[in-house]
Symmetry: C2
Subunit: 321 residues, 2 copies
């Protein structure tokens, strides 16, 4: 019987799971709506029901599930199999692995950006590279690290918090308690903030038309789409965003000197328009160091299935495959 792995992508409003083969193919996929606000009991039950459904389908598909992997939007303890702290789930100290004990399958969990990076390295845009960094540009900035071919997670699995490195000492306050964190300057939230600030500075900007005259309609597209049409204010916003993103990317070039840095999350939907600008910013600064090998900057490629495939990839790696 063919071996497979279950990958579960946990979110605050839905839990997505899939049965994934060795080569990253999803045999079966299922989504369960949930509401993390209802508390840990309901949430854990929803997760277990989703997995029971997947296991039932694995039988029909004549595949043998070897382990379950989870991508968690928060801080986990990889050794204990607990979710220690997850703002978006409104939860702390969730004993996930313990709760799933009676399934009699190995359960592994990691941060969602970590598993997404692993998925990209095994099956996506970073396939074949030894040192890979993923930056997910969303509400914050998540980070994932593949170093010397293996997922690097740090003590208790709590490393790779690449959004929480200060790039501006005494800069903007961050939810983590520090000031000037990278994610305060280069997340999708930062982009929205720059967009709104500039719109208030220039009421003539095309961005007002794009937002139908209401600043509440501003989203991640507003500045980029108007910049493409030549709007000066929009270009100012995009250039400002690229500068901060570029500085963070250059930092990670120098710290890790990876072969490739992937950009994921909402902002990465800008594709080559974004990549070309970040690459040009970094190249013009010689990647920060003389004679160092080029770092490829690319978009993550697994998109919507990244969470499922990445979580399954975690289970594969942990099982030694």
């Amino acid at each position: 019987m063919e071996k497979s792995y279950i990958g579960v992508d946990v979110g605050g409003m839905s839990i997505k799971g899939g049965i994934v083969t060795f080569d990253g193919k999803i045999l079966y996929k299922s989504t369960k709506k949930t509401d993390a606000k209802l508390g840990m009991g309901t949430f854990l039950k929803d997760i277990k029901n989703l997995i029971l459904d997947l296991l039932e389908n694995a039988k029909s598909l004549k595949t043998s599930v070897k382990a379950i992997g989870f991508g968690i939007p928060g801080v986990v303890n990889t050794e204990k199999g607990t979710i220690d702290f997850a703002t978006n789930l409104y939860m702390e100290n969730v004993p996930l692995a313990e709760y799933l004990k009676d399934l009699h399958l190995p359960v592994y969990l990691s941060n969602d950006a970590n598993v997404a990076c692993l998925g990209e390295a095994k099956f996506g845009a970073a396939k074949g590279f030894k040192n890979v960094i993923l930056l997910t540009l969303g509400t914050g900035i998540g980070g994932g690290l593949i170093l010397d071919g293996k997922l690097y997670e740090g003590n208790e699995g709590k490393g790779a918090e690449l959004g929480h490195a200060t790039i501006v000492v005494d800069g903007i306050s961050c939810s983590c308690g520090r000031k000037g964190c990278f994610e305060r300057y280069a997340s999708a939230s930062a982009l929205l903030k720059y967009t709104k600030e500039e719109m208030l500075n220039n009421k003539q900007s095309l961005m007002w038309d794009f937002a139908k005259g209401d600043i509440e309609n501003v989203d991640g597209l507003t500045s980029f789409e108007c910049a493409k049409k030549g709007d000066m204010s929009a270009n100012f916003v995009v250039d400002k965003y690229i500068k901060y993103l570029g500085e963070g990317v250059l930092n990670y070039c120098n710290i890790f000197r990876p072969e490739i840095i992937l950009l994921g999350g909402g902002v990465s939907n800008q594709g080559s328009y974004l990549i070309d600008k970040v690459t040009a910013y970094c190249a013009s600064r010689n990647y920060g160091y003389k004679g160092t090998p080029k770092v490829i900057i690319e978009c993550a490629s697994l998109k919507n299935d990244a969470g499922i495939v990445g979580a399954a990839a975690l289970a594969m790696e942990r099982e030694g495959n």
Copy 2:
């Protein structure tokens, strides 16, 4: 016959080498004065002569040298065994491994901070820890990384440039071509700069006495020693230095979440006075993230022999020991 490894610590004015056992004991040590300014030919010959002397002594000591490791103050290519770029040696593209081919021994090289970190992890202050970061606080800031128990060097061995991550976007210009690099704010050179600036602000400071009235006498001790005596200006300098050092240390806590961060280089001679202040700075900021495990901050312990022992440790690791 007992196995041993040669470790060579390369500097611009002297080359230090030693025969090192498995357990990090130096059996024999030798130093050769050189002058990198005389060029590559003389320099390479001096290195070879030092090694021939060491090999001769290994015979008398009845130990069998298995490999040679080098710590290089600059950018190397670990795969090719070349020194690509080393400002302090006034050299580029030095084919070191190729030149030593006729010794018929495996030759390995890495950046000096990398090998020092490896030495500390195998035989020094970080013994027994899985994830270790070394920051050497000297003219610049060197970085070394032990991740999941192994030396991490990045593509071509050109990673771990921990001094060249921007902590102040648009900050002070750095020799690397970027602005606001960590080493511009927390190296020994930065400490000297802060000291001199503050002395010019306050002609009454005790630091003037300590420097015998001549600002050219300022060194790494000036501010620290006068701060211990209660001088306000000196305390201002030390606090400013600790703040920037602390911000960089917190960044590396969040990026790597190691078990321990070691401080080496001249500034680390301040010992527990320095460590207590940096630890307090970081602890008051909750190490940047809720619920994360503590990171120990300590001084490197191998001191003067760190280069030799570390370079030998590199040879051991590369040979699979």
